[in-house]
Subunit: 247 residues, 2 copies
Amino acid sequence: MELEDALQELDEALRRNEVITVFCSCTISYSGRAESELGEGERVIVIKQDNTVLVHQPTDSTPVNYMKDGSSIELSHDDDRLVLESRNLADKDYLQVEISDVVSLSAAKLQDGRSLQLVGTEEDMSDMIRDNPDEIGSWFTPVSREEHTAYGFMDVFGYDDEGRFVIVECKRYTAGVSAVQQLRRYVEKVQALKGVGDAKTRGVIAAPDVASNAKDMLQDWSYEHARVKPPNRQERFREKQQSLSDF
Amino acid sequence: MELEDALQELDEALRRNEVITVFCSCTISYSGRAESELGEGERVIVIKQDNTVLVHQPTDSTPVNYMKDGSSIELSHDDDRLVLESRNLADKDYLQVEISDVVSLSAAKLQDGRSLQLVGTEEDMSDMIRDNPDEIGSWFTPVSREEHTAYGFMDVFGYDDEGRFVIVECKRYTAGVSAVQQLRRYVEKVQALKGVGDAKTRGVIAAPDVASNAKDMLQDWSYEHARVKPPNRQERFREKQQSLSDF
DNA sequence: ATATAGATCTCGTCA
DNA sequence: TGACGAGGTCTATAT
């Protein structure tokens, strides 16, 4: 494909605010929050309708370079290269793509008002625990969930059969040291604000497993591990569908 | 574009292991580590040479659905829909794309052996501190950097003018409570292993700024904040270029 | 605007 | 393989 033609098609597609994909050979420079260089190679460039720019190599799931939405995009023609420059003032980011050869170019205005419906997140896990406190223990009575309080951001908060505060931190996968540290922060905050010397505040990690080092920390701080698996997603999904069909 | 033709082109491109982009109208179901549904809409689907699948809506920088490399991909034809199914055994992930209309399809085998050269990361910041310990204070003598030791992963480790251990945690941006907590973990570990009752181990956050709550935590545990900006990237980049041109 | 935490995080690295 | 931490993280949410 001739660079001249590519330039014109790109320019028109940008003007029409279309989604664009370009198969091309290029080099890339990035400067802003960090600096990067990428030598000559064949990539796919995706430009979206909000001026998001993604540069993808032929493998790997993450873009090798990118610009976030709201960036400016300028085209120019430098000798035998097509140059695409993008600037983002908020991040002080600058991306330059020097295209030496365009294999193919596609562009179209796309309509998509739908947004993703996702279930099986940590939030769903704390929902499940609130609805089934026995997942923690028969002694546990939940009070609130996912609350941003002065004490911190606790997944589930409640009390035990002796009236002690209980803080539950949920993790969908094996909990590591940072999860225990996170729990510790909340427990200490509650402990401090609710008056020291009172009954101990209990800390619980609700997760399918706890890493070895993290287990040691749990013991050191006398926190507990409730072996809880994330909600059975297929079931939860059916629930969601049922409740939607009620309307 | 006829679905029959699209099916054949897709099939051949997959067989040839090409990078593919498809502008299309589709619905998407995902099931695995979580569950998601996405109703009918126009998107760009990118299939890479390692069978990575990305589904991009017309805006936003992150894919609305995706499958990681090494997934299987199967095509089929269900009434008036083209169905793409991808499975990843490792993650037990399953993605189904039902395509009702193909706007355009591009495919090409791409060659790209280059990898990104990135500078200006936290690693560079700890490099800078090791080379310029005055950034922390004239009292600081660094010993090691980015070391995975029995004491933990410490960004910079050293001692002060009175022989006390010093642990430095670097953050490129405003350090929050979790950064202080991270520092605390390392300090306590060193304190415990090196024998309690000895001189206090000093903890230092090296960052351009510290969030308000995190400042309180610093005070509580008598840790310090060294106001350090990440290395000037443009300068650092020039250095790198100069050193490369020496060869 | 700042702060906090999750993510189908991804990716590298080291034990 | 598991664990741990960084990321040009990105994204959503709350203050």
